[in-house]
Amino acid sequence: MHLVVNGLGHEIRADGLTSLLRVLREELFILSPKAGCEQGGCGACTVLIDGQPRRSCLTPLAALEGAEVTTVEGLSDGVDLAPIQQAFYDTYASQCGFCSPGMMMAATALLAHTPDASRDQISEALEGHICRCTGYVKILDAVESVAKAGAA
């Protein structure tokens, strides 16, 4: 099985029913997608599959033939941050940090097709992403700051 992750091609050994989350974390050691519940309930494992936000814990490898996967590791080189990363950093949207990768991927997908997203649209896009630390306000502020820059 051939899988492209963050622009790099990999030959995956895991069988087709293995979740993308397990493949990323255990075979490729791409650790930003988090196993919060492995039931599709928390959003911490969210990655982009062909640009769409998807729960990697519920996505079997077999469903990914020819797909391109993007994780937080693919947003930037880690030195010059992507705008969404910089915004999360600047606005203290990341507290314990565990939900942040999934939140940032969902926000990235939203801003790719709606660069000037409204606060309501941001709330809707982040529905199903659970954060127990921040109370969400800082997270909405972070995404909104990028959207406002996109609208300008």
């Binding site: 988090k34 196993a35 309930g41 565990f98 127990r132």
Partner: protein, 461 residues
């Protein structure tokens, strides 16, 4: 003082937003095994026998552990405060809650470990569980221990706080208002499930990667269970994916450690979400009965409280939680005569532990509902009723602490302004001053005089 009020960058912020923060589940070690825990399917049962032989023989299994493998199985969280240890880390001859840990397996992968758990044969004699703490004092209920269902710690069976002449306050009252309040159990539900990775090093020491909220506490508990010196254990942690009180109980480290020592391989154990929700300890549920003695014009003369704290199956921190609860039962208000009785009740629920405001939120929940009920009965604005009875500088708390800088008045006025609740002029302009004039009614003169006395000997009695 460069940091106060400044917006400083988070030291861990870049790692968080680049996905490079290493949580415990992101740690690994060469030759690492997966751990799974065997848990009770019953609320309450006697364990007749545990047979692990088939699991031990299962291909891919490196170690199986039960209570027999734990050098010291029963370690109390509050032994240093004199609260006796009562909880076996791995169940021995009985299980007292559904999900109680009985043993565990370390295997080549999670699937193999789960297969091996199915091969452990535990024979139970199921007992009727005790689940409703309101029946703690009723005859004929299932008994949690030989001593019954209520405990505090020797020599006391409950925590009491007494201030002033409560009976006189209730005789003088124009109105007595009663209420029962039952805040339910709450799972802390951090998004990161708890876990650890224990690596037995070649020099005999243990390296323990952990998500614990309490590094030194966990080190002490683990060292005690393993009967090792703390110096032979190196904890690596401080990166916690949310805890909120749910990661202080050292739930995973002792089992992973004992399996790692038996297997002589690194062992990682991360809770599943089901384990986190069903077996991890929770904020307790409470039953609070409150009666307030009031005057028609809105003064609180006295209060009586009976609290039952559902500790769950074992003590853990419950005696401490009930004590904090008891110390806060006047709330942010001055109650000149108070009598509280808080009982800690064992039940066949999951053991309870810390969560933000441990013990105090249940008191606040009851107090604030009661305050609104009081105001409704008296036909007084609930904001003004609170302001009238608010703590003031010089007031004496039930714990004999004289208040120096209470903030009740300022807080309530700010809240009223924030939500646009109109206050009458008397309350809108209320100052956070020592009692005088109309704010020093006869029933508060005594406590004001007493507060100024500040006699520590009196406080001790």
């Amino acid at each position: 003082m460069k940091a106060v009020g400044a917006r400083l960058p988070r030291y861990d912020g870049i790692a968080h937003v680049t996905g490079r923060t290493k949580y415990v589940a992101d740690q690994s070690a060469q030759g690492m095994l997966a751990c799974k825990g065997l848990r009770s399917p019953h609320h309450s049962a006697r364990i007749v026998s545990i047979d692990t032989s088939k699991a031990e023989a299962h291909p891919g299994v490196f170690a199986v552990a039960t209570y027999k493998d734990m050098p010291k199985n029963t370690v109390g969280h509050l032994e240093a405060l004199g609260v006796p240890a009562d909880e076996p880390y791995l169940a021995e001859h009985e299980v007292r809650f559904k999900g109680q840990l009985i043993g565990g397996v370390a295997a080549i992968d999670e699937a193999t470990a789960l297969e091996a758990l199915d091969l452990i044969d535990v024979k139970y004699e199921v007992r009727e569980p005790f689940l409703d703490i309101r029946k703690a004092f009723d005859p004929g209920q299932p008994q949690m221990t030989e001593k019954g269902n209520v405990f505090f710690y020797d020599p006391y069976d409950h925590r009491k706080v007494t201030k002033g002449d409560v009976d006189a306050a209730f005789e003088k009252a124009d109105v007595i208002v009663k209420g029962s309040y039952r805040p339910s159990a709450i799972e802390q539900a951090p998004i990161e499930p708890q876990g650890c990775l224990v690596v037995p090093e070649s020099d005999g020491r243990l390296t323990v990667y952990t998500c614990t909220q309490a590094m030194y506490f966990t080190m002490g508990v683990l060292a005690e269970h393993l009967q090792r010196t703390p110096g032979s254990i190196k904890l690596v942690g401080g990166t916690v994916g949310g805890g909120f009180g749910g990661k202080v109980d050292s739930a995973t480290e002792p089992l992973a450690a004992i399996l790692a020592l038996k297997a002589r391989r690194p062992v990682r154990w991360i809770f599943t979400r089901e384990e986190e929700m069903l077996c991890g300890s929770v904020r307790a549920s409470w039953h609070v009965e409150m009666a307030d003695a009031l005057t028609k014009d809105g003064w609180i003369l006295g209060r009586k409280v009976l609290t039952l704290h559902d500790a769950g199956a074992y003590t853990r921190f419950s005696s401490y939680g009930a004590t904090k609860h008891s110390f806060h039962l006047a709330g942010a208000y001055t109650v000149p005569a108070l009598r509280t009785r808080a009982y800690v009740v064992w039940s066949n629920h999951v053991p309870t532990t810390a969560m933000r405001g441990f013990g105090v939120t249940s008191a606040s929940f009851a107090i604030e509902l009661q305050m609104t009920r009081n105001a409704d009965v008296l036909g007084i604005d609930p904001w003004e009723f609170r302001l009238k009875n608010a703590n003031r500088p010089g007031d004496l708390m039930p714990t004999r602490k004289v208040l120096e800088d209470p903030s009740t008045i300022d807080t309530i006025r700010a809240c009223a302004e924030a939500v646009g609740h109109p206050l009458s002029a008397t309350y809108r302009d209320m100052k956070n001053d020592e009692r005088s004039g109309e704010w020093l009614p006869p029933h508060l003169v005594d406590q004001a005089a007493h507060a100024k006395l500040g006699d520590p000997q009196e406080a001790a009695r």
